[in-house]
Symmetry: C2
Subunit: 225 residues, 2 copies
Amino acid sequence: MPQKISENIQDYLKRIYEFTLSGSRASTNQLAQALGISAASVTNMVQKLSKTDPPYVTYEKHQGVKLTPFGQQAALKIIRRHRLIEIYLVEKLGYTWDEVHAEAEVLEHAMSPLLEKRIDAALDHPKFDPHGDPIPDINLEIPEIEQTALSSLEIGNKGRVLRVPNEDPQVLRYLGKFGIRPGAHIKLISRTPYDQTMRIKITETGNEAVIGPSLGNKISIAKDS
Amino acid sequence: MPQKISENIQDYLKRIYEFTLSGSRASTNQLAQALGISAASVTNMVQKLSKTDPPYVTYEKHQGVKLTPFGQQAALKIIRRHRLIEIYLVEKLGYTWDEVHAEAEVLEHAMSPLLEKRIDAALDHPKFDPHGDPIPDINLEIPEIEQTALSSLEIGNKGRVLRVPNEDPQVLRYLGKFGIRPGAHIKLISRTPYDQTMRIKITETGNEAVIGPSLGNKISIAKDS
DNA sequence: ATCATAATTTAGGTAAGCCTAATTTTTATC
DNA sequence: GATAAAAATTAGGCTTACCTAAATTATGAT
């Protein structure tokens, strides 16, 4: 019955997109926590999003949500803007990579198609944001990258960092200190049997860093063959 | 009694600022029209804005509103952002001067203090926006400029354009076509007695342009002595 | 000064998007 | 497969910022 929905759809869609990347559906609770609102509110909004014309999501009670193709386009549109802003702020305005996420989170909603185009052009159509996340192109195509978790690296083997988690400034500053950034070459020194904590060496800086297992799972690398 | 008010205060404050520049109070109807909402809504909001702590405006029934010093600071803060964005878009992203107002109108609300600082620095602390409007500095001081309306120029006399109206893209494109922009040197050729329509010559381009009286009143110049 | 008209305010109401509390459904364990 | 715990939904409410219609106040022309 309803037709149009507000601004913050975009936040819902982005989160749903993230949570359903792996193929599973996004749960009400997951979304509530990620969005910082109550589960009841999520249920409510999700029902609306499934009844627009066309619908943004498919929703079945107690089964979680999935994006429709239409919803996915909408999500990718906003993700493209978010990541373009991030890389722009770093490249052109001297931001550090731990500062850009929060800023982009706000700016993405205020970005016109024209501004998107100009920023894209000013950066010569960048393919990745500062954290290594791929930027959907103008047609919202997103390149598939072969990547594995840092945690799956074997001791003594080497790899190249592809992406790091992007939301927590503290983590980003920690990683930055050691030179762990997209493009950095690393080698796994050791892994404790008890808690899987890793020591890795960063080729470019010569530093060694300690990475816990949960962080290790969020850092993506390409393994050296 | 109330304490905090929403986002769009800023739009109210900006408009009130503009309408009270000349010293008079801003009327309910004026604001309603400028904001594209009903007069009743303006009355309502204005009452709220006069009851915050501290209040943004002083308001007396049927007498219109004025900004308090607090409200004026808030207005200048957003005007600074608006104008910084405008000049940034022109200087760094290839916008034309008729495109930037609408864009800035949205972006100004999404601009963090850090972004403001970076943009200000990237442009080396610009003093004017693309339309010649002064940009309040970091302390929200706004330089007073000696200026008069184009319409007050005497026939045969010369002047330098200081600012042009900034909101209507059509007008801006018209002016741009003749080279009428801040800094341009002009000479008044003639003025019809009947409707005060002026013909002016632009030194830089050699063009002649016809300017009606209402537009002539909105273009500010410095008269050549 | 009166009175029509214009401007403003008041009253009452709506839609969005959130909330808490109560209820229902699912899930996981014994 | 019963049942306790967890997850999700429904019901009912709140706030913000808008609206229209009706009432009030101000203004300006005679």
